[in-house]
Amino acid sequence: MQIQISNLIKEYATLRAVDNVSFEVREGGIIALLGPNGAGKSSLVRMLVGLTHPDSGNIKVTYQGQVYPHLPDGTFGYLPEDRGLYQDRTLKQNLMYIGQLRGLDKKVIQQQLDHWLERFELTERANEHLKQLSKGNQQKIQLIATLLHRPPMVILDEPFSGLDPVNQEHVLTVLKELKAEGVTILLSAHQMDLVERLADEFVLMNCGQVIASGPIDAIHEQLADNQQIHFSFAAPVAAEALAALPLTQLTHNDAGTHFSAEVALTESLQSLLQQASLCGPLQEFRRYRQPLHDLYLSAVRNSAATQEIRK
């Protein structure tokens, strides 16, 4: 399944929730939608699953050779941001109901239930009412409801919220397994470290607009002002010896063996490496990548839309 989103716009009264958004979701990949609250992620997802319609722009879903204006029924699992199930019904009753509405046979639902409840360590609690479960366990049931029919595409709005670190890792593993099975995953989350480990591609949004998109390298290219490097020598080197190099923010240890600095993105690391090796017995030369979290924060703070709002 492939999704192509072009120039999508959605307005609510005076607010433009999604503003001319374009990106692509490739089959079998994991794409992460990132952005602060109110960035337009959920509005975008709601259009994708057909809950609302775009005011203009295009959604093109290609599945088994056919083209659709939104995800076709039964081909996706959706975990909404605002979620809940029937609190006064048991886990089993809730999941059976959702499975039956999906058109699944009772036997198939039971098989899937057995599998997923065991996978999420909830088998013993199948006959308990949902309200008896902790928030984290309810979250897992929601995820099971999304995956019950083994869809080729999964859309998860904040799948890690409400989970403790152990369960976050658990869900991360499950999502990696799904990816290995060829399931396409689109998710939005605020847990940058988890998302960075999981996703193949990213779409950073702010105030309805895409401020960067693509694989992590492309995101760095689009958002980072410069690159950070670390290098060390086998013997001490005077900082003055490095003055000819195009470095800024240069720092070093007392012994004068380990150095950190920033380099403009336009500089070639290869030529920098050669120049540094002329200054002393170079032991290590490493580019340090800024974490996604930092990139995300500075990008959101510096984005044109944020500046506009501040004005």
């Binding site: 809950l51 975990l79 979620r83 199930l85 029937y86 019904r89 509405l101």
Partner: protein, 398 residues
């Protein structure tokens, strides 16, 4: 009809029915109602058990009054002072009769005195009548019953007009009962539909399920499920009521109580009640879909509107051949309550019945469409309710 549509609607309807059907609660309701009915049947026995007999000293000439649960003791006039001093002890009261007036001496006011007073008055009237010293023939003439013969020009085949009148009263009782049951069904639908839809919106079930179901399928399933519940409540109450009435009939008259309701009239009533409940529940679903939080919405009170047709229809019980009854039985928002009354009480021309059914079904079709549209609009507004202007626009578009 689409197989998937039917399948999903059935699933939703079954889920909604079972969601509100609690075995323990049902058994408790049946138990409580049965106990209530049993107490009602046995009330005279219970009262007799707890009632104590009153003892009254009477200072009068001639025969003593005869009143159930009261013992009258005739005393000679010299004992009056002693008897008065013994009120509350030996006697509950002292009755002093002087020609055609009487005084009842009691210690304090009590409920048994209220039922005694009219009986003493009758006794005194009888004494006055005896004082006239009429002969046997005059007495008989005075006591002769004055019959009123009823001749019905529209019921020439009725040999026994009295039987026809009894049947009419019986039908009035039945139609009153039908409306009472309908009232129970509508109130039940109000409570469940309100809770069903607003609870889902508040617990955020809606968004996930809307990716599995079309709003129309969801609404139709809900309307059907809640209607099944309303019908169940009506059947349960109706069955227990019938049991009670039969129990009373057996105790007082003997045998089963005759029901002046033919099978065809019963079927017609059932049809109108079910379609009516579907119609009412569609209106309720539409209103509930526009409410975001029932605790803070002023719109909750509007949901009482569907009760009005049932209340209006009470006015035509026993007057089913009036112009108002004809109008109410054809107007689609009241026909579900009024037409069963007309059919049970008087004959209805076939064309009126057909028009009534056609209008009612068309309104039902439109209302369920409207409910689904309001629902879709309501849930996509996220956090606020559609305004009356929005609602009006949707009504016009539907």
């Amino acid at each position: 009809m689409n197989k998937n549509y039917l399948n999903r609607v059935t699933r939703v309807a079954t889920f909604e029915f079972l969601r509100f059907f609690k075995w323990k609660q049902e058994l408790l309701t049946v138990g409580l109602m049965s106990a209530g009915f049993l107490v009602a049947i046995l009330w005279p026995v219970i009262m007799a058990f707890f009632d104590s007999e009153q003892r009254i000293a009477v200072f009068a000439e001639g025969a003593l009054p005869e009143v159930e649960s009261v013992e009258f003791v005739s005393l000679p006039p010299p004992n009056l002072r002693l008897a008065l001093s013994e009120i509350g002890d030996e006697y509950d009261a002292v009755l002093v009769v002087d020609d055609f007036s009487m005084v009842l001496h009691v210690e304090k006011s009590s409920a048994w005195q209220d039922s005694l007073r009219p009986q003493l008055r009758d006794w005194m009237q009888s004494r006055k009548f005896d004082a006239l010293e009429l002969n046997e023939e005059q007495r008989e003439f005075y006591h002769q019953d004055i019959p009123i013969e009823m001749l019905y020009t529209s019921r020439v085949d009725d040999e026994d007009a009295e039987a026809a009148e009894t049947e009419r009263r019986g039908r009035g009782l039945i139609t009153g009962g039908i409306l009472l049951l309908l009232f129970i069904g509508v109130v039940n639908g109000f409570a469940l539909m309100m809770s069903s839809i607003t609870q889902e919106k508040m617990t955020r079930v809606t968004e996930q399920l809307l990716t599995l179901l079309h709003p129309q399928e969801w609404m139709d399933g809900k309307i059907l499920g809640v209607t099944m519940h309303s019908v169940k409540s009506m059947a349960l109450t109706g069955g227990l009521l019938l049991l009670l009435l039969n129990g009373m009939h057996m105790a007082m008259v003997g045998g089963f109580m005759p029901l002046p309701l033919s099978f065809l009239v019963f079927l017609n009533t059932l049809f109108f009640l079910i379609i009516g409940l579907l119609l009412v529940n569609s209106v309720l679903a539409g209103f509930a879909a526009t409410i975001d939080d029932p605790n803070h919405s002023s719109r909750s009170t509007v949901m009482f509107i569907p009760i009005i047709p049932v209340l209006i229809s009470f006015s035509i019980v026993g007057e089913a051949d009036s112009g108002l009854a004809t109008f109410l039985s054809i107007f689609p928002l009241t026909s579900f309550a009024a037409m069963p009354i007309r059919v049970a009480e008087v004959g209805v021309p076939w064309w009126q019945w057909v028009i009534s059914v056609a209008l009612m079904l068309a309104t039902l079709y439109w209302l369920r469409k409207l409910a689904a549209r309001l629902f879709r609009q309501g849930i996509t507004m996220y956090g606020k309710e559609p305004s009356w202007k929005d609602i009006w626009r949707i009504i016009m578009n539907t």
